[in-house]
């Protein structure tokens, strides 16, 4: 194992973590402000990826596709919020889980009706093809590096939005006392729609960006959704900072676990199956992390409400 490989895996972990952050930020905002558990968040990720792939294929330009994907996810989020989600805020978590589970079925099957059963391919933009030299004879994929840049930029942008703008003030106020800000004359319904659409746009952005390093297919959102839930539970539900820390933890631990554990098991045990066992345990690692965090800090690392 060379140092270059190690650094490459570490960067992959950071990149994965930042993409998870885009997903988790929306989930945690929606939960923090509206108290809603949204399983259909992964479907918005899928919509972003499909629209991006479709538009990029039609126009031949990745960036137009990306913009279209984000816009489509935001629009889908706003429509879903107004038609369905709005009726769920006052319900218990069980109803929310079920209704958004139903939305997953509808959106997944709907997508497969529209785009057919086969995966789409989204190629990365030409300007970001190839690798970049990072010194010490080490090359890294330019596109993945750009994803890291994107992730950091969005994290900063989101932080600015929450702390520095009028909308951010309202979002934070909505988190602490929704009746009060409604009484102060803020249109709480519109605020909820905006927050939901913002979360949807972030999910769509993640889907469109990741779409070109994976295949774009129905059901692609579900594994990511579950990881995003792990992230926000670790970070503390409702906390953007928690989502960032949790996402990086999950991204790096998952990637490094898959990379290192099989090798470690190979060294420790002689049996031929050691690598497989290492790989199997590596895939469970983040769930163990989540269980451990919940046991030590039942409200996550950065509890949002006291």
């Amino acid at each position: 194992m060379s140092l270059a490989l190690f650094i490459e895996q570490l960067l992959n972990g950071v990149q994965f973590g930042l993409m998870l952050f885009l997903m988790a930020a929306g989930l945690t905002l929606v939960f923090g402000v509206m108290g809603l558990i949204n399983l259909a968040h992964g479907s918005l990720y899928m919509i972003g990826a499909f629209i991006c792939a479709g538009v990029a294929a039609a126009t031949g330009n990745f960036w137009i596709g990306l913009a279209a994907g984000v816009a489509a996810a935001a629009a889908a989020g706003a429509i879903i919020e107004v038609t369905v989600i709005r009726r769920l805020y006052a319900r218990d978590h069980l109803d929310q889980v079920l209704a958004t589970f139903a939305l997953i079925l509808i959106l997944s099957e709907g997508t497969s009706m529209l785009f057919g059963p086969f995966p789409l391919y989204l190629s990365r933009p030409d300007s970001l093809a190839g690798t970049v030299h990072l010194g010490f004879g080490f090359n890294y994929s330019l596109y993945r590096l750009a994803l890291i840049g994107f992730g950091v930029a969005v994290a900063i942008g989101l932080w600015m939005l929450i702390t520095r703008t009028q909308l951010g003030v309202r979002i934070r106020a909505g988190e602490s006392d929704r009746e009060m800000i409604a009484a102060l004359g803020v249109n709480i319904k519109a605020l909820y729609t905006v927050v939901f659409a913002l979360g949807a746009a972030l999910a769509g952005l993640a889907g469109a960006l990741v779409g070109s390093i994976q295949s774009v297919q129905v059901g692609m959102g579900e594994p990511v959704l579950i990881l995003a839930f792990v992230v926000i539970v670790i970070g503390g539900i409702g906390s953007i900072k928690g989502a960032l820390v949790g996402a990086l933890l999950v991204g790096v631990i998952d990637t490094m676990g898959r990379f290192l554990l099989p090798r470690l098991f190979d060294l420790l045990f002689e049996a031929g199956r050691a690598t497989d066992i290492g790989a199997a345990i590596a895939s469970m690692l983040i769930y163990m992390l989540m269980a451990a965090v919940l046991l030590l800090r039942p409200k996550g690392l950065f509890p949002a409400h006291g």
Binding site: H93, D95, A99, A102, I106, I226, Y287
Partner: protein
């Protein structure tokens, strides 16, 4: 007719209807419907298990596929070793006897449910939903990654496991086993609900602080209910593996967990026969719409959304009226 009587008669119709369907199917020589009824019975059994945690205890477990899949893998792995003659771990030999496999499946499911429950019940609300999901995902990915028993491809059971005095390869006999297990589980559910244990469990769902204040520890009662719940779902998994003669990680997927909750809700959560009605609706939907379009889940989603938003008592609630408590 008052609502309790209505629900009683509806239950009777469900119980007799589920038995009569395969009888009629055999008479008109349509064995497909016998297998289908077996599927309904096994899904209903799984959901009766979940109904104890979800309906009586109010514990929204989003990870019951774990026990379903665990039961399935117990049946698959024991049959695999019985077939090959190679001993399992610790030199234990496999078995192709259902009367051996079922207790093992239930004990193992109960043990895992005790561990998962003890850890998860420290949390509540959305955290409980997520941590039960996480444990099920852990098992799911382990099953995918573990190559000894087929990994992602799953494991076939070449010859269906044996039950003394019955030829289990005949669909009717398999139905009888599933139906018998379902009836026993329903009796157990009714007994639990009417016992002091059930009263305490339902009281905890409604107001844990008040229950704690009268000197009953909510944790122990909930954990016991969670373990019983997992054991019943584990048994159903072993039966489903035998019915399909196949077990795969998808039995443990979060889709399966979601389906089990959907079955409970479609039928009417917390009601004795809710899981039976829900399983019948679910499997019926799968067959009717699945025959018409490969996108049947789209329509299932719409129906489910409608039930959640507008008909919260499920099928039994629509016919027999809403429950007055809870």
């Amino acid at each position: 007719m008052d609502e309790t009587r209505k629900e009683f008669w509806l239950n009777a119709v469900l119980l007799i209807g589920l038995f009569a369907t395969p009888v009629i199917a055999l008479m008109i020589d349509e064995p497909f419907y016998v297998t289908l009824s077996t599927r309904v019975a096994i899904f209903a059994l799984a959901a009766v298990g979940l109904n104890i945690a979800l309906g009586l205890g109010g514990m929204v477990s989003f990870g019951h596929a774990l026990y379903f899949g665990l039961g399935g893998y117990v049946a698959g792995i024991m049959a695999h070793h019985a077939f090959s003659g190679v001993p399992m771990v610790f030199g234990l030999s496999g078995s192709d006897q259902m009367l051996v496999i079922w207790p093992v499946a239930m004990l193992l499911s109960g043990l895992i449910a005790a561990i998962v429950g003890a850890l998860s019940l420290r949390t509540s609300g959305i955290f409980f939903i997520m941590i039960t999901l996480a444990f099920a995902q852990m098992a799911y990915y382990f099953a995918i990654g573990w190559p000894t028993y087929g990994g992602e491809d799953g494991l076939s059971i070449f010859v269906r496991n044996q039950f003394p005095g019955l030829n289990t390869m005949q669909t009717w006999n398999m139905f009888l086993l599933a139906y018998g297990a379902l009836v026993i589980a329903l009796v157990l559910f009714a007994m639990l609900r009417n016992a002091r244990f059930g009263a305490a469990l339902m009281a905890i769902r409604q107001n844990p602080e008040r229950v704690a204040a009268v000197g009953i520890s909510p944790f122990g009662i909930k954990l016991a209910a969670f373990v019983i719940s997992g054991m019943i779902t584990g048994l159903s998994g072993a039966m489903m593996a035998d019915l399909n003669r196949f077990v795969s990680p998808s039995m443990m997927s979060w889709h399966t967990s979601g389906q089990l909750i959907v079955i409970c809700i479609l039928g009417g959560v917390g009601r004795l026969f809710g899981p039976v009605a829900g399983a019948a609706v679910f499997v019926g939907f799968e067959v009717v719409f699945g025959g018409l379009t490969q996108h049947w889940q789209f329509w299932l989603g719409l129906v489910l959304l409608g039930v959640v938003l507008f008909a919260r008592g499920g099928v039994i609630g629509i016919i027999a009226g809403r429950e007055r408590h809870g």
